[in-house]
Amino acid sequence: MPAGVIQPLNPLTWLGAPALACAAGSLLLTLPVEIAGVGLPQPVLAMIPAFAWAVIRPSLLAPFVLILLGLFQDMLWGGRLGLWPSALLAAYAMGVAARPLLAGQGFWTHWGWYLAALGAGFGVAVALTFFTAGQAPDPGGLAIQVIATAAVFWPAWRLIETYEDADVRFK
């Protein structure tokens, strides 16, 4: 590649492939698997690209791919349409806001901001659920899902490491 030529990110690789992986992973996690009579926790896998895409670079497409991922999640779980798109976009917005602070930072700083993004995303989900159901979700179940989602940060970190230097216009 000649020097000075910027190779733009291919949306199929940095947006499409992670989105498909998330959808497939979410589908697998809805399989009726029980261990000792207890179902496995279901993390919201779409939070991974929601945070990573925001950190990698500002994008026109990413918010709309997040809407599609959120709608997939809503339909897969049988919830009200629009709940998870809104939550994912809140997490994405938190990532966009944190982006200037994250340049050059390591794993744990990113993970800290990932937790903040989860706080924003799940906060919006709780608020919208309260709006429709008239009550907040069970704190215990919410804590389990947040912890499960926080524990799957590593793919987001890999995604950020892979693509964060791919478009220097936004460095």
Binding site: I6, L27, M75, G78, L81, G82, V168
Partner: protein, 321 residues
């Protein structure tokens, strides 16, 4: 020349602002979707088609899960059989695998027998189903069952397992139906306390034990009281077992009967309305009062009747008239 000094650097502010604008637009679209979506909306068709595809995929993908579950005990037994020679190990593993399969089949057979004994009074038609996808969590608690409108399932039909009421069907497509469990945060089921006949609404909150809300009458419930469906509203028949009342810090909750087992096999009651229970004729009203608005003829008073009779006696009509 570094890339930052190049002409493309000038693109940064507009692209960044456009990205923020895209984010705001996407947020508005999401919220508009959320506000406008409800059961019975035009989006139900999309949801039903998605459930059909997801159910088919889930049925295929979940089959290995059942196989793995059946074979896990056999694999564990194989690992424990260290010290045996290869041939005996293979034979033992094979025998244990068969034993595990037999045990799994026996267990499933027992559960299916128990499920077949689930009866309502009066009897109502039911269909059996297996759940193929499973959404667990504080925001949604639903199951996708591999049976749908082609078997007669309708929205609102109650679903039971061998222990009691599981939930109700909230969407149906030809081959699959989605069951909202009693624990889902949007679940509301009218129930009664068997001891006092007190009424309440069983409200899911995403946790394992739904709350008893809108309790009527003073002190209608005690710990350990049986909770049944009340039939109020006509969506679910009366008397289906739900659970046992327990006191919690924030009021009364119900320990569900269905906690005693998994919800992989269910029976769906093909309940339409109470005409199935008492017969359609019993719901027909009897003779109804007239709806005529004409002024009725006033009845003659006893005094006037007596005067008329006396006059008739004093002036009898001539014969021949």
């Amino acid at each position: 020349m570094s890339l930052r000094d190049g002409p493309l650097n000038e693109l940064r502010p507009p692209l960044a602002w456009l990205a923020v604008a895209a984010l705001v637009l996407a947020g508005i679209v999401s919220l508009a979707l959320f506000v406008n979506d409800h059961r019975g909306s035009p989006l139900d068709g999309v949801r039903g088609r998605f459930d059909g595809v997801a159910g088919a995929v889930g049925g295929v993908v979940s089959a290995p899960v059942h196989w793995v579950g059946d074979g896990a005990a056999a694999v564990g037994a194989y690992v424990d059989a260290g010290g045996q020679n290869g041939r005996l190990r293979a034979q033992l593993a094979q025998a244990r695998q068969l034993e595990a399969q037999v045990e799994a089949l026996r267990e499933e057979n027992g559960r299916l027998r128990a499920l077949l004994q689930v009866k309502t009074d009066p009897p109502l038609p039911m269909v059996g189903a297996r759940t193929v996808l499973d959404a667990r969590g504080p925001f949604a608690d639903t199951r996708l069952a591999d049976i749908g409108s082609d078997a007669g399932v309708l929205e609102g039909n109650p679903a039971l397992n061998e222990h009691g009421l599981v939930g109700r069907v909230v969407s149906v497509s030809p081959h699959v139906s989605r069951i909202m469990l009693l624990t889902d945060i949007e679940s509301r089921i009218p129930v009664l306390i068997a001891r006092t006949n007190g009424r309440a609404i069983l409200t899911g909150d995403g946790g394992p034990a739904p709350t008893l809300d809108y309790l009527r009458t003073h002190d209608p419930v005690r710990p350990g009281d049986r909770i049944l469906t009340s039939g109020d509203g006509g969506v679910i028949p009366r008397g289906l077992p739900v659970g046992v009342a327990v006191r919690s810090q924030d009021g009364w909750r119900v320990a569900l009967d269905t906690d005693a087992g998994s919800i992989d096999l269910v029976r769906i009651l093909l309940f339409r309305d109470f005409s199935q229970v008492v017969g359609p004729n019993a719901l027909q009203p009897g003779a109804l009062p007239s709806t005529s608005t004409d002024a009725p003829t006033p009845p003659a008073s006893p005094a006037a009747t007596a005067a008329t009779a006396a006059a008739a006696a004093a002036h009898p009509a001539p014969k021949g008239q």
